[in-house]
Symmetry: C2
Subunit: 161 residues, 2 copies
């Protein structure tokens, strides 16, 4: 069974897959009489021609490492942002596309305060918090047509710390 190790989630390393949403570096604006920084419009949202943005809440069961991943999925009709409603680290598995199926997967360890926005069509694992509560706000495409492709990994992939 193939094994990969986690790597820290950085904007540079994640650039092919999506946006890292975090309050690092100088804010784009300082608002509320200096009490609040705003890192402005940091996600490249894309809901296709017939979709719109929606906010949903996900509550996922925490997992632990090593984690066995046997399924990747992608959403051909829209981007999908995961915003942790907690301040713990969590696991992000993604893969490039290789002719309509996932290429070599990568596992990123998102730190406290890091959300992501997956570009439309990015292969990714299911939501994998590593601590309780596994609560996330998800901003994704609400639309009239199917928006899910799945690819079963055979053999499965093991993600180690």
């Amino acid at each position: 069974m193939p094994i990969i190790r986690t790597q820290p989630l950085t904007a540079a390393d994640f650039a092919a897959y999506g946006d890292v949403l975090q309050a690092t570096g100088d804010p784009d604006r300082v608002i509320n009489a200096g009490f609040c920084g705003r890192w402005h419009d940091r996600a490249r949202l894309d809901f296709g021609v017939d979709g719109r943005a929606g906010i949903s809440i996900f509550d996922a069961q925490p997992r632990s490492l090593p984690y066995v991943c046997d399924l990747l999925e992608r959403h051909p009709e829209g981007s999908q942002a995961f915003l942790p409603m907690h301040h713990n680290d969590w696991l992000v598995i993604v893969a490039p596309d290789a002719g309509g199926r996932p290429g070599q997967p990568h596992a990123f360890l998102a730190g406290p305060g890091q959300g992501i926005n997956l570009f439309r069509g990015t292969w990714h694992g299911v939501l994998t918090p590593l601590h309780s509560p596994g609560l996330f706000a998800v901003v994704d495409r609400i639309g009239p047509t199917p928006n899910l492709e799945e690819y079963r990994l055979d053999p499965p992939l093991t993600v180690e710390a």
Copy 2:
């Protein structure tokens, strides 16, 4: 100086101001082979005719109670959702409109796991976390025209626990 007390944040009590975004009650869908509940499309987003959705990250300085509030604001061109990137309580101050200015304010204590989506045009206080980190993901309107009205409270309002 007028004084108000906080009340728990419930969907019923907040109904005039916006949506409460939380994972309570049964999920609308169970996904990921049973590992994740999805409370689907829970925010009534509204970005007007010339706006679009954006995700920004806010980092606000924590406040404490009693809190003195001397300013309310509203966004005439779009809804604004606040999604805590932490699992602590935080303070939400809102007021109904009363002929173009704020009416009687209300203070809600949002609990861990509770986000909100303010309807377009809802009078509200600035972002007031009560603990560190004061990190929030904000889904609001990105657009070409001004989208802020402010109203100074004179005398200020004191919010007590």
